[in-house]
């Protein structure tokens, strides 16, 4: 279903409200305090959900008293929240996630009842799915839902089991719980205070320490049958799967937001810190290692986040593969950027008061929750592999051809290098098919990485050529964006070439005679030739970053 979401002005007002809220209620001292003392700011979360803000209304449909925000709106809000504090953002994510089984799986009557209550009461919601023995493998859940019969009919269910790592688990007023019913995994709605529902001890975590993460135990929790979401047993896994496109987009925006927050601090520091006669921000060695490559990757991630959000809002269903690509790339980019930001601050980065080490610890969760990076790699290669077998490699061949066409019109966005990267992916996937290499799990994961890198570069080239989503508000001038896109495409082409040779040669899929043919098919000499111009492009980006920071007071 098409969702046009908020108009531009309303979205901007909402972002301004969040920024003002952050300034008033979450200044640096408070953020550091919550982190150090491991405090879940319940009052602050209540305020976010209260009448003065009402942030949860963003994802409640208009007809049920919400704002009816779309994927694009949710991405922008997620990024801003993540820039502020990823722990507080996680509480919000959990509410969104916990509400999802109701949005996608509930009957019309249940949907109206629960969403109205969430909208009006600002309920803190938790998504209780993960278990000690069921993480990436959801079908392994041990929590049972036994039927309770009366006069030969199902009257309700009795839930027994333990859930692990539940965000908001200790404070939620409503839990959506996945339990194994006789017909299969099924979602149930359970309210706080239901007898037998026992939240456990809060986890002491590396980062996002302002978020609450607790186990939740269910001991003979009795639920009337109207709490079975959707009214039919066995639909739980389908419901859980169908929202991944959306929720992974949110976590991708978290990775982006964390990375951007760290980079903004590093760039400001670099402009103020003078060593050997000039600010660090004017030193090429510093910028081209610690800043520029990370900003490029973050903006490449942003480009695909926006494109995926736009497609979801146009009504394309699920987009699980794109969700996986963008989550994998954005969260890894966010982690690398936050790590580089510590290095960029030198010894100061290792102290708490500069906050970058906190951002580093916070953003670390994003490559783990909502599907680990490795599960993302596997998801991408599984889906694209299936496509490759169905259409005999046409998917990537078409993308490569369209990039070559783009390059003829816009020769300055790196579309030629991106086309080369896509070609490597196509050739390598085909070689893996012929050599039956995907029997090796390592190959599958690596293929996922290859595909991700190429698709990110391909999309960034289109984005820099001006084919961005309509609500797009540029963060950089077109000339800087184009330089970034060229850097991204070059890096992708060179990296996937290395990865491809490593895979195919490393699995002994070609002999000494065959490797030359393979490298010719990968067009390796064209790829090495496209490294040309890297230095001057990085200078362009470094200059743009300096100027952008100088414009901020």
């Amino acid at each position: 279903m098409k969702n046009s979401g908020l108009d531009k002005d309303s979205l901007q007002t909402l972002i301004d409200t969040l920024a003002s809220f952050g300034k008033q209620k979450l200044p640096l001292k408070v953020r550091l305090d919550l982190d150090e003392k491991d405090i879940f700011p319940l009052d602050l979360i209540r305020e976010l959900l209260g009448p003065d803000i009402g942030l949860h209304l963003l994802f409640i449909p208009e007809e049920l008293g919400g704002l009816g925000g779309n994927a694009y709106d949710v991405y922008r809000v997620s990024e801003e929240m993540a820039k502020l504090d990823l722990g507080v953002a996680t509480a919000f994510l959990a509410i969104f996630l916990g509400t999802d089984p109701i949005v996608v799986g509930a009957t019309e009557e249940q949907r109206t009842y629960w969403l109205r209550r969430i909208a009006d009461e600002g309920l803190i919601v938790a998504y209780a799915v993960t278990e000690p023995l069921a993480g990436s493998e959801l079908s392994a859940i041990r929590t049972r839902a036994e039927r309770v019969m009366e006069n030969g009919e199902v009257k309700g269910y009795k839930i027994n089991g333990t859930k692990q790592f539940i965000s908001n688990g200790g404070y939620a007023q409503l839990y959506t719980v996945l339990a194994m019913a006789p017909e299969g995994p099924t979602f149930f709605a359970v309210e706080q205070g239901t007898p037998g529902l026992v939240p456990g001890k809060h986890e002491n975590k590396l980062g996002i320490r302002s978020s609450n993460t607790s186990p939740v135990t269910f001991e003979d929790v009795y639920l009337p049958k109207q709490n079975l979401l959707g009214g039919v047993e066995g639909k739980g896994l389908v419901h859980a799967q169908s929202v991944f496109g959306f929720t992974r987009l949110m976590v991708a925006a978290f990775g982006l937001g964390g990375g951007v927050a760290a980079m903004l601090r590093a760039i400001r520091y670099a402009r103020e810190r003078v060593q050997a006669g000039s600010p660090l921000a004017e030193k090429q060695g510093y910028m081209d290692k610690l800043i520029v490559p990370h900003v490029v990757r973050l903006e490449a991630a942003r480009a695909l986040i926006e494109e995926t959000a736009h497609r979801l809002d146009q009504g394309e269903p699920e987009l699980q593969t794109e969700g996986a690509i963008v989550k994998l790339f954005a969260t890894e980019a966010g982690n690398a950027a936050a790590d580089a930001a510590i290095q960029a601050h030198g010894g100061y980065g290792y102290t708490r008061e500069y906050e970058v080490e906190k951002i580093r610890r916070d953003v670390r969760i994003t490559t783990i929750y909502e599907g680990t990076s490795e599960i993302m790699q596997w998801t991408v290669s599984r889906d694209r592999w299936r496509l490759h077998l169905q259409d005999h490699g046409q998917y990537y061949k078409k993308i490569a051809a369209s990039l070559e066409a783009l390059h003829r019109e816009h020769s300055d966005v790196g579309a030629d290098a991106a086309a080369l990267a896509v070609n490597v992916v196509q050739e390598t996937t085909e070689r893996c098919r012929v050599g039956r290499l995907t029997r090796n799990q390592h190959v599958l994961f690596e293929l996922g990485e290859l595909m991700t890198r190429a698709e990110i570069a391909a999309n960034f080239a289109r984005y820099a050529a001006g084919q961005a989503a309509p609500k797009y508000q540029p963060f950089f001038a077109p000339s800087a964006l184009k330089a970034m896109s060229r850097i991204c495409a070059r890096e992708a082409a060179l990296d996937v070439l290395g990865l491809a040779v490593r895979l195919v040669r490393g699995m002994d899929a070609v002999d000494d005679a065959g490797i030359a043919d393979f490298e010719r098919a990968l067009r390796s000499s064209a790829i090495t030739a496209c490294a040309k111009g890297l230095m001057s492009d990085m200078d362009v980006v470094a200059k743009a970053l300096n100027e952008q920071d100088a414009a901020r007071a």
Partner: protein, 273 residues
């Protein structure tokens, strides 16, 4: 009680101003409501509600003069709780305090508010003129730089204070009147309507944010766009801008080795002692 709140949009003060070739370069700037005007809206909202979060009694109308995209700032004020918005098409380069006051006088004539509240000045030009000129031209009482407003139960007068060098000055002003507000006006108990809120009523000591409910409600509120001509106001300004100039960069200081050297420098070079 109907309150008119004139508001101006100003460049984001978190961005550095670029001055080149005798003018301010505003390309690429982002805009926001002048903070003092936002405080004025907060004051107007408090004067028309039964305590914090209470029902609204009366009407708050915001008015701005600016280009079309000033609608973004007006929508934010509607989302905060204002009832209606009026946008008079105009551009800063063809406006001065006198013309703004004449336009507002025409809006006042059309809207007939009981009270006009606005910021003491806009943080871009810092002219601090519009409220005073408007009051004089309407022949209404004016109360400027207010730190508090207590509206009498009969709605016919208000007791207001402002901070002066010697302390706090308190006055009673009869309505209709023009009031301009300073930053103290957003204090917890700074503004109250005796007819609506008890003496114990308290608000947050800040202007309210645009809540999501407010943003939703704002979509259905009226935002009327009109022209200066439709108000029967002739254009033309009295202030001529010659050029803009950035303040000269400060010279780097020097370190002195002793008190004697410092005194000598202050006496001989700076000639201040």
């Amino acid at each position: 009680m109907k309150i008119l709140v004139p508001c101006k949009r100003v460049p984001n003060p978190d961005l550095k101003l670029k001055v080149a070739n005798g003018s301010v370069d505003l390309a690429g700037t982002t805009w926001q409501v002048n903070p003092f005007d936002e405080y004025a809206v907060e004051a107007a909202l408090r004067l028309t509600e039964k305590g914090k979060g209470g029902e609204r009694v009366g009407e708050v109308v915001v008015v701005s003069i600016g280009p079309k995209d000033t609608s973004a700032q007006l929508k934010q004020l509607l989302a905060m709780g204002a009832n209606r918005a009026i946008l008079v098409a105009g551009d800063d380069s063809a406006l001065d305090s006198d013309l703004v006051a004449r336009i507002l006088r025409a809006v006042v004539a059309a809207e007939k508010p009981d009270l006009v509240i606005t910021g003491k000045q806009a943080v871009d030009g810092d002219d601090n003129q519009v409220g005073q000129i408007l009051a004089a031209s309407l022949g209404w009482p004016q109360a400027t730089f207010l730190a508090s407003i207590l509206l009498a139960a009969d709605g016919k007068s208000a007791t207001v204070t402002r901070e002066v060098d010697a302390g706090v000055e308190e006055r009673r002003v009869r309505l209709p009147a023009i009031m301009t507000v300073d930053l103290r006006i957003i204090g917890k108990k700074a503004v109250r309507n005796e007819a609506l809120a008890p003496a114990t009523a308290e608000w947050e000591d800040t202007q309210r944010l645009a809540s999501l409910k407010g943003i939703m409600a704002a979509k259905k509120k009226e935002l009327r766009e009109i022209t200066v001509e439709s108000l029967g106001v002739a254009g033309g300004i009295l202030v001529k801008t010659l050029r803009h100039e950035a303040p000269p960069a400060r010279k780097a200081g020097v370190k002195v080795a002793s008190v004697e050297e410092l005194v000598a420098k202050l006496h001989n070079e700076a000639k201040v002692i």
